[in-house]
Amino acid sequence: MVFEYAPAPESASVVDIRESYGLFVDGAFTRGGGEPFKTINPADETVLAEVACADEGDVDRAVRAARKAFDKVWGPMPGAERAKYLYRIARIVQERARELAVLESIDNGKPIRESRDVDVPLVAAHFFYYAGWADKLGHAGFGTDPKPLGVAAQVIPWNFPLLMLAWKIAPALACGNTVVLKPAETTPLTALLFADICRQAELPPGVVNIVTGAGGTGRALVAHDGVDKVAFTGSTEVGKEIARTVAGTRKRLTLELGGKAANIVYADAALDQAVEGVVDGIFFNQGHVCCAGSRLLVQESIADELLDRLKARMATLRVGDPLDKNTDVGAVNSAAQLAKIRELSASGEQEGATRWSPPCDLPDRGFWFAPTVFTGVAQSHRIAREEIFGPVLSVLTFRTPDEAVAKANNTPYGLSAGIWTEKGSQILWTAQRLRAGVVWANTFNKFDPASPFGGYKESGFGREGGRHGLEAYLDV
């Protein structure tokens, strides 16, 4: 008996995508001075909408609006009142959850199961969590009356568009800052829907400003003199550029950048759960995850058995329509990203690693890449060192715990890592030695607003989430 699941598409009718979108500045949608750009559905390459592009003048308007709101309204407002606005936002996100999830999947390509079950619930949770801090900042360990920084410039990536927005805006507002946020140019739509949520919440104009555009808009925002704080999530390359831009200024900086996480599977691991964790670690969100477990380090004595199980499990992954509720792996976000994944995968073969993908029918239109695993990978291969940011897993083996830790740490990155073993002392021993900001032991890719997230080394600095996440937005 072959049990074929019939298509189970989520209805796109809950979303009303307009033909064109403006910038959200000082509480109103306005035109942009730059050349408008189109955002497309990566699953079928259809144009979704035309979006305004903010030029330097628009960025300046937005920063001024944020400054005025900071000076006149948001800064002086009691924390308890700020809290209530954030709670309102959290509630409206919950009320409009399905709409946000569908729009996110359409604009980003991620499976509806993830946007519905992971992204959007975490967005609401993040606002709810930081709302509670707004009137308790004196208890957070940063002095009895910590002050906000002022205007925060925030630049976010395309892999978790709305969730990264929440990670940025919620703590900034809770601490009393106002923000100018630039979403990624391939995924601006949920941020613009969020602007509408701010209006429904009657958030004072200028507290949240959304400027859409590409790299030029981001550079203008980061470089603007009126900005007190810069927060960026994205590539390490751009993160370094931003660090150079703010050098010598008063601007505070936090960066959440790339990663090449090791997922270490010891011989005594709970194998079936480890396989699930490896799959979740690299194929969650098409591997477009900075903390993805992109290097599987498996103890050599169980490598064959684990790989057999992994391949069998990969064969059950359902790749396709992001809006189908049964889809596990959706579309790659853009043609450019697909080209990068293909190029690095080709280098993996050239350098001598063995490539494998399960049989997998990919749609004709759109940007697709089959879940892929490389075996026989050495530390020296590009696919073991460079962030691929796609559904591509590099498998390496180790013999001893020391070797596992040494290989795991042998990278300029240090964002996350995974450990799979049934032995408690081995978990703690390994976790202590891994130079990474988040260590998932016997689980992977878990996120929570109460849990600090951020990297060591070239994965950036500063933490988002939890009490620690407040520090980035307070004058401490």
């Binding site: 008996m1 699941y5 019939a6 005594d268 079936d272 759960q273 964790g277 016997n442 689980t443």
Partner: protein
């Protein structure tokens, strides 16, 4: 030597076997409960619609072991159940028949006569169901009586006390003895996972039962809460998958108890499909131990066929 049960009169070879069994079971990879529950919940979230749902409902009906296991069971009750098994929906002859009828051993003959000519087998619980607390000889006598009365399948319970005391050899020995008493009848081994408590124990008990000769492993008696759950069934499906890979022998799985709705039943089918694989998606290798689920399956089946929601008055109660 309580380790290996009653060591008196047991040969050295058996002792070695007992030690080997223990080492083997304790050497199985662990199960992380949170991860297993997450995986089961993920699979339970699969959306099964339209044509897939219609096929799944008919498949689920054909896998039902329609069960009555009450102290108040009578020949009349059993005959009524058998009639339902043969014609689940009197209004619709296209509805598949169920896989088997499951009764206590003393009512096997009633069921066998009632099902004569239907092709539906009779399964009998045995071995002092549900507690399993009886001397081995009594359990074997129970089994032999059921087989003699025409039972095609025996659903035995393991000695959970012995299992939890670490006396794996005793549990294995009893299973092997009951298997022998079954003759050609199929043996389903009930682990009573609600009493084993941990998923590590479920995995060990599954392997123990398979190694000892069980043709099926079954979650529960239905008399202990929790009965079948998705994570427990997931672990058992992983066990039969791995056992076949290791030995070449395929063993069936039967979750029993607590499966009440079509939605529940379909979740189990998805679990089978994505864990053990399509080879298990037949009544030969997967059963649902249940009774009330049948009417819900019939009701959902009619909804799909007619497009309107039906009601319980339109389905027979037996």
């Amino acid at each position: 030597m309580t380790y290996f049960g009653d060591a008196e009169g047991v040969s050295t070879e058996t002792l070695t076997g007992a030690a080997e069994l223990r080492a083997f079971l304790h050497g199985l990879p662990g199960v992380d409960r949170v991860g297993a529950e997450e995986r089961a919940a993920r699979l339970a979230g699969r959306s099964i619609k339209t044509s897939a749902k219609a096929a799944a409902i008919d498949l689920a009906i054909s896998m039902v072991d329609l069960t009555t296991l009450e102290g108040a069971d009578t020949p009349g009750k059993v005959r009524a159940l058998c009639a339902k098994a043969a014609r689940p929906d009197p209004d619709d002859p296209d509805v598949p028949r169920v896989a088997a009828v499951c009764v206590y051993s003393d009512l096997v003959d009633v069921a066998v006569r009632a099902l004569d000519g239907t092709g539906i087998g009779v399964a009998s619980v045995a071995t002092s169901f549900p507690s399993g607390r009886a001397p081995l000889e009594a359990k074997l006598a129970d089994t032999r009586a059921a087989v003699a009365a025409g039972a095609a399948e025996i659903d035995m319970v393991i000695d959970r006390g012995a299992f939890l005391a670490g006396d794996y050899a005793k549990v294995a020995g009893e299973i092997a003895a009951v298997k022998e008493a079954c003759g050609s009848a199929h043996l389903k081994v009930i682990l009573e996972t609600g009493e084993l408590a941990t998923l590590d124990n479920v995995r060990r008990a599954s392997w123990l039962a398979m190694r000892a000769g069980g043709d099926f492993i079954k979650t529960s008696t239905g008399k202990v809460s929790p009965a079948a759950t998705l994570p427990v069934t997931l672990v058992m499906l992983e066990a039969v998958r791995d056992f076949r890979a290791a030995t070449g022998r395929q063993v069936g799985v039967k979750p029993a108890g607590g499966i009440r709705t079509t939605k529940d039943a379909i979740k189990y089918l998805v679990l089978v499909n994505e864990t053990a694989g399509p080879d298990w998606l037949t009544p030969d290798w997967f059963r649902l131990g249940a009774s009330s689920v049948l009417n819900d399956l019939l009701m959902q089946r009619r909804k799909l066929a007619t497009g309107v929601y039906s009601g319980p008055d339109y389905f027979t109660l037996d």
